[in-house]
């Protein structure tokens, strides 16, 4: 099947006799009043009324799940996980499901916009591209491309383009990156991104790693978690202990949830190391210097600095001793501090001490095509970018997949600094905050209209390269373009010899895949067949993945954690900007399904809220629904209070994602953005923003509004089951075990 056919296959010529069923239950239609259009040339699998599934890749988060989209009469209707993908294994999270709403979003950009006299006005693509050519002519180092995390051929094209322009400024920015974790893993295990074998662990001790919701690869981890929890005669039920200042969804599923003081995770971990090293079989896993270094983390210090009682500490210790192999995870709440990487390293040291490395901590395979390997973002990129902007070093700036005007902390003043760049181009789907600041806004194809390749950062099994293919024709064929196509066009202007052989991005991808055919498992001999196979499966399995090597060096770790910071009497509370899986860094806040789907823990919809512990609320005289001013040294926002017990009492939390000033009808003016009041605190070894290090105080206003949530409305009552058997709970030692299947 050649490429032209492939496109035609999706050709939408008419919706056949199954028209939209919007009319609901009206009167029977009369004959001859409606028309029924037929295909002039039907595609091979196109039968009216029958859905056909096409494979592609979900692009809503970096986990990169393979998906299958149900296409009927040329329309994409529903996405499912692809069973052939090692990550999703046929499952798909809510965020991924909502991808279709990005595609059909009523607020999508439909044509290029150029700023004329301060206003964005429609412009043709030709004009836009020639303008870009003109502005980038001698850009050199005054050019910068700020993107979100990238992988696959789009990354290759972006990097090539930046290079062609003679610039080194490709900034990959990801607000939710775990750079500190990677650095710590590098130090402890010798690899930055180890696999965690959740299903194989008998105990998981997680310090804020929300692996069921938004940590690295949630769909994959959820499936693993199911295995971890299952108990039968051959396998005990895994135990999950979660220590974090604000309860995450994973914490809500824990057997023991520990409200640990923010930033003291490392102390708790080293306290455990200290205690565990009393056992000879643990002590042999680390050099004596470690035992020496952790001696100062005795029970008294742990008790003093972490706020965790000795009894709980003892229970955790006993569980760690009893259950092996275990798995200790470090998550954002441990890493978002000045000493974040140190915290993470201390936590990871536990895995070394417990002998988990090699059992539940394993090495992933190397990605055979380094130029396609994921460029995981970080926040230091944004800081560098912002600095360059503020110093006037950047003249022409491109944006793609990142919305720094919304996600950058207020103190960085990104909006102001952007004014110093003369020409800003946003490749966007919506008029988001950054697009509103741009001089040229170029509308992109939705993920379901575009081609692409993706390499997931977290590869659970070997290496898979995921194919992204259009699941339907462009909704706005004249308006939107693929970023790949645009970059190719721009590259052709500079390097015609290199890029002219590729008529479009599709051809580029196809030839790249075919060229490297030998690297993949079960590749068909015929090129066209191989390509057809690739698209129908949606994944390419690397034939002989080469594993990375784990190299432990616990002796070299700096285990001297700083003393807890002085309590600030003026700003007594810690602010957690919590992450909602459905919104990530706020880029999905304009999807009505996700706005309407309750936050799992608070059940609040369509807005933001301030989570505050009932005890703390009592102290501040705050009741549910009160509008509270949250004041940090860097700013003030107003949020609605929600009394939430799953907090360390000196911590308050506001979810990230809402509070947009632009981005369409579903996101604009919904909720508040806690990022705006973050303090300028940075992780010391990576230079990353320390997201969990902001201190705040509260001021109650006179305003009180109903909290819009799904749980029943009963004034002053925490939602319980009223002595009815709704969710029953059984102690783990009481459950009857059935034979293994």
């Amino acid at each position: 099947m050649n490429d032209i056919d492939r496109r035609k296959l999706l050709k939408l010529l008419g919706w056949s006799s199954a028209s939209l069923a919007v009319a609901g239950c009206g009167n029977p239609p009369e004959s001859g009043t409606g028309t029924a259009e037929a295909y002039s040339e039907p595609g091979d699998f196109n039968v009216p009324g029958v859905g056909v599934y096409y494979a592609s890749t979900c692009t809503l988060c970096e986990a990169g799940c393979g998906i299958k989209g149900r296409v009927r009469e040329g329309r994409i209707l529903k996405l499912e996980g692809s069973p052939e993908c090692a990550i999703s294994k046929g499952r798909l999270c809510g965020l991924g499901q909502a991808s279709v709403q990005h595609h059909y979003n009523p607020d999508r950009l439909k044509e290029p916009l150029l700023r004329v006299n301060g206003n964005l006005q429609p412009v043709t693509w030709d004009k836009a591209l020639s303008l870009i050519a003109e502005k980038t002519k001698d850009a050199g180092d005054k050019f910068a491309f700020l993107t979100g995390p990238l992988s696959g051929h789009l990354k290759v094209l972006v990097q090539n383009y930046v290079e062609v322009l003679g610039s080194k400024n490709h900034f990959v920015y990801d607000l939710l990156a775990n750079k500190a974790n990677q650095l710590a893993a590098e130090k402890v295990y010798g690899i930055s991104n180890p696999q965690v074998q959740i299903a194989k662990a008998k105990l998981i001790l997680s310090f804020g790693a929300d692996f069921l919701n938004c940590w690295e690869s949630p769909v994959h981890f959820s499936a693993e978690y199911a295995q971890f929890r299952k108990a039968n005669e051959g396998k005990a039920r895994g135990v999950l202990i979660q220590a974090e200042p604000k309860m995450t969804l994973t914490g809500a599923n824990a057997d023991r949830w520990i409200a640990i003081k923010a930033g003291s995770e490392g102390v708790f971990a080293l306290g455990l190391v200290n205690a565990l090293l009393e056992d000879a079989h643990h002590a042999k896993n680390v050099p004596a210097s470690v035992a020496e270094a952790v001696r100062k983390y005795d029970k008294a210090r742990v008790d003093r600095e972490t706020g965790v009682s000795e009894e709980v500490f003892g229970r955790v210790l006993a569980q760690l001793r009893e259950r092996s192999p275990s798995l200790v995870l470090s998550g954002p709440s441990a890493e978002g501090h000045i000493h974040g990487a140190q915290n993470a390293a201390a936590i990871m040291l536990l895995n070394v001490v417990l002998g988990n490395v090699g059992k539940t901590i394993t090495a992933p395979a190397k990605i055979p095509f380094p130029q396609m390997a994921p460029a995981a973002g970080d926040t230091s990129a944004l800081i560098a970018f912002n600095q360059a902007l503020s110093q006037g070093r950047l003249q022409t700036v491109f944006f793609h997949g990142a919305n720094p005007v919304f996600t950058a902390p207020g103190f960085m003043k990104v909006r102001e600094n952007l004014k110093k760049a003369a020409f800003k181009v946003a490749f966007a789907h919506y008029r988001d905050e950054t697009a509103e600041e741009a001089d040229l806004v170029l509308p992109l194809d939705s993920a379901l209209e575009d081609w692409g390749t993706h390499v997931a950062a977290y590869q659970p099994d070997g290496v898979q390269i995921h194919m992204q293919q259009p699941l339907m024709e462009r909704l706005y064929p004249q308006g939107t373009r693929s970023l790949g196509d645009v970059l190719l066009t721009l590259l052709k202007q500079r390097r015609p010899d290199e890029y002219n052989p590729f008529p479009d991005y599709y051809a580029y991808l196809k030839s790249a895949a075919i060229k490297n055919k030998a690297a993949f498992k079960d590749a068909a001999a015929d090129d066209e067949e191989f390509w057809y196979q690739t698209l129908s499966h949606g994944v390419l399995n690397v034939a002989k993945p080469e594993p990375q090597r784990i190299a432990l060096n616990p002796g070299a770790l700096d285990l001297d954690l700083p003393k807890p910071a002085e309590e600030d009497l003026h700003y007594p509370l810690r602010l957690v900007p919590s992450v909602r899986a459905n919104f990530r860094d706020g880029r999905h806040a304009n999807l009505p399904w996700l706005q309407e789907t309750p936050d799992p823990l608070t059940t609040i919809v369509w807005g933001s809220w301030l989570e505050i512990h009932p005890k703390t609320a009592g102290r501040w005289g705050i009741a549910e629904g009160d509008i509270v001013e949250v004041i940090s040294k860097s700013g003030t926002i107003k949020a609605q209070a929600y009394l939430f017990p799953g907090l360390e009492p000196n911590t308050v939390a506001i979810p990230i994602g809402n509070g947009h000033e632009a981005m369409g009808r579903y996101a604009k003016d919904v909720g508040v953005n806690p990022l705006k009041i973050l303090d300028p605190v940075f992780e010391k070894s990576t230079g990353e923003l320390a997201l969990h290090a902001t201190r705040v105080k509260l001021r109650r206003t006179e305003d009180n509004r109903t909290v819009v949530k799904d749980e029943g409305w009963r004034p002053g009552v925490v939602n319980t089951q009223m002595n009815r058997k709704i969710v029953a709970t059984l102690a783990a030692d009481k459950i009857k075990l059935f034979p293994e299947e």
């Binding site: 109903t706 749980e711 009963r714 319980t720 009223m722 009815r724």
Partner: protein, 456 residues
């Protein structure tokens, strides 16, 4: 002003002349005075509010009335039961008292019977207003349709529809048949269009023996037919709740409880209208204080039956094993609905104790206030049956104590009073609201009785 507190006061003056009866009653049909128009306009305003609300609700959906899940029913259903209940007193007075020959009912049964008919018509409206797709209401009627579908005969709502329809038809028939001799009197005294109107209505009534005989038999037959119907109608309305499975509704004693409540609210409404008519049309000769006294006693008796049944329900819940129902009962008494719940108990069970006092029964003002309170209590009762179960049902997640009926619901409830008022006022001006021939009968019987006594 005669002293009515003395027991020997008569229900009706037996020396009253027949011509005076005709004159007094027909005067009430004469050209309305300003006060009538003022009241009529007021009722029309209320009714218009209701219509406006209904139009709005029809166009936008029931959401504008501030229903939600799980509060799917609200004031429409409670007010529906209220009006159904209201209809029972007419039957009580006209049919039950008729067959047991309590002749003091005679001057007041006509308007009570009209009240029955109109409140049924109001109640029927609520069934329709309540529907989400009012335009498809005919799906619930059992008729052989092209779709070869029948309604669900298991559903109490269907029984409701049938029972109400039957009851309404019978009530109209009863009201009409009973008024034929009076229409003839009107015909004989009317001029102009009224003459035609009453000629038509009186069906050629000449007052012959044969006509009287047929009339008596017909009237008695319908009366006998109406009594079980009245009992069944409210039992069936009770079944809407008792047949369901919800806490607070699934109560065996609901049918008698509802019937008692219905008679109760009906009697209270009779007292109200009695006093209103007595003063508007100067019917002091017919709607006499001794009759009011009797109605008051009857109301008290029914109030006590109702109170008893109410306590039976509480007790059976309290001592029973149904934790959901008990939870709900506690909620009613302590939760956000508690003011209304206690208000209902106070108005329904404590206020009627006032009726024990002769001086209260003898004072029209006091009776008016008491009757309005009783009506309020009875309306609250219906609301307290319907609403709290939704706020505090089986399922804890959906418990919602914050729901308050929206203005559209209140508007339509008000509108229903306007509608009822309009109908009743039209009735007062078109149909003699005191049965002339029966009052004459009553006077005649009294005279006869006195003559017999004298002769003995």
């Amino acid at each position: 002003m005669p002293d009515f507190t003395k027991g020997e006061e008569k229900d009706i003056r037996d020396t009253i002349a027949w011509a005076q009866i005709n004159g007094d009653v027909l005067r009430s049909l004469s050209k309305p005075r300003f006060a009538f128009w003022a009241l009529f306009t007021f009722a029309l305003c209320l009714f218009s509010i209701g219509v406006a609300c209904e139009v709005y609700q029809w166009r936008r959906g029931l959401g504008v009335a501030n229903f939600d899940n799980p509060h799917v029913w609200g004031l429409y259903i409670s007010t529906f039961i209220f009006w159904i209940g209201m209809s029972h007193s007419g039957t009580l007075l006209s049919a039950i008292l008729h067959i047991i020959h309590a002749d003091w009912r005679k001057p007041i049964y006509r308007f009570a019977e009209a009240m029955t008919t109109f409140s049924l018509m109001t109640a029927g409206l609520f069934v329709l207003i309540h529907l989400g797709r009012l335009w498809k209401f005919y799906y619930s009627l059992p008729y052989p349709s092209e779709r070869m579908l029948w309604p669900n005969f298991q559903s109490p709502l269907l029984w409701d529809a049938i029972a109400i329809f039957t009851y309404l038809t019978s009530s109209i028939l009863f009201l009409y048949v009973g008024a034929i001799p009076d229409f003839a009197i009107c015909r004989d005294n009317a001029t102009g269009w009224r003459k035609h109107f009453y000629s038509m209505l009186s069906l050629g009534w000449m007052g012959t023996d044969r006509q009287w005989r047929s009339f008596r038999v017909t009237y008695l037959t319908i009366a006998c037919f109406l009594i079980p119907l009245a009992v069944s109608v409210h039992s069936i309305v009770a079944s809407d709740f008792a047949m369901s499975q919800q806490p607070g509704w699934h109560v065996t004693s609901f049918p008698p409880y509802f019937v008692a409540g219905a008679l109760y609210s009906g009697c209270a409404a009779i007292i109200t209208l009695f006093i209103v008519l007595r003063y508007t049309f100067r019917f002091e000769e017919y709607m006499t204080m001794p009759i009011l006294d009797k109605v008051g006693r009857l109301t008290f008796a029914i109030a006590m039956v109702w109170t008893y049944l109410n306590f039976v329900e509480y007790a059976s819940v309290w001592y029973g094993d149904d934790m959901y129902a008990k939870d709900l009962l506690i909620q009613k008494a302590t939760g956000p609905y508690s003011p209304f719940w206690w208000g209902m108990n106070f108005c329904g069970s404590v206020v009627p104790l006032l009726l024990l006092s002769k001086s209260v029964r003898g004072s029209p003002t006091a009776m008016m206030i008491v009757s309005l309170l009783l009506n309020l209590g009875m309306w609250l009762e219906r609301w307290m049956i319907v609403a709290p179960t939704f706020s505090h049902g089986y399922y804890p997640w959906t418990m919602d104590h914050d729901q308050w009926p929206g203005f559209v619901q209140w508007g339509i409830v008000l509108g229903s009073f306007g509608w009822f008022g309009l109908l009743f006022m039209l009735f007062c001006k078109l149909v003699p609201s005191v049965s002339m021939y029966e009052v004459k009968e009553m006077v005649y019987h009294r005279t006869l009785a006195q003559r017999h006594a004298r002769e003995a």
